[in-house]
Subunit: 138 residues, 2 copies
């Protein structure tokens, strides 16, 4: 299948980084992690996260806010009990604390978003987004 | 004088917004504010801030972390006691709480950065960046 936006994601001004092997058990497919900035004093970490087509993380929660900023390609963001929303270049999502959600690429497109966590987060990784749920999306 | 990056800033995928009249007394020159996302529950606000060439804010502090992400043009970020650092597309700065700093455009270029504040911030606006300090920068 033709994979859209591969060059846009791999050549992003925010960088592409390395395959995120530490998190592979919490993702379906391969994601890539590029650290952009970190401050222990501000308890803040900023990464660019890229997803191959079809790649998404499990449903999960953070105890602190997360901010997602779409910077290349096409992806999805979904909160439990709400429809998935498409994320395109320029879209920004604030994930409220303790909100069950997932994010990732669309089926046929690479996707990259900046992800920002502020605070000492405890993260709870939950079940995968099933193929049945995911394949229903456009 | 030729003003670089005007189209890149005014046509940013993150939007350009309106002249920021509320803050005009804390800026030298005109800045523009485009709200991108806000959550009261997460105490988080995300804006795209654009600066005309030569525009910069006063020295100031926040009591919570701020994240700046350069998205178009050329700008400056400086913390008290440190050299100013140029901000170009893709650069990310985490401003630690209670750190005296300023940011803005270069002399001859428009500049835009996303600015994120997380937490109930008290902001302390201080003295302007003098022409003497600013004009020394490249």
């Amino acid at each position: 299948m033709w994979q859209k936006n591969e060059e846009e994601v791999k050549n992003s001004v925010f960088g592409f980084g390395e395959a995120n092997e530490a998190f592979v058990k919490f993702f379906r497919g391969i994601s890539y992690l590029k650290p952009l900035a970190e401050s222990k004093e501000a308890k803040t970490a900023v990464h660019n996260v890229s997803f191959e087509p079809g790649c998404r993380n499990n449903w999960h929660k953070h105890t602190v806010p997360q901010i997602l900023i779409a910077v290349a390609g096409e992806g999805w963001y979904q909160e439990e009990g709400k429809p998935a929303q498409k994320m395109l270049l320029g879209d920004v999502v604030i994930v409220n604390p303790n909100t069950k959600h997932w994010h990732g690429a669309t089926k046929d497109s690479w996707f990259a978003h900046i992800a920002i966590i502020v605070g000492d987060s405890e993260n709870t990784l939950l079940e995968p987004v099933s193929d049945k749920e995911y394949d229903k999306l456009g």
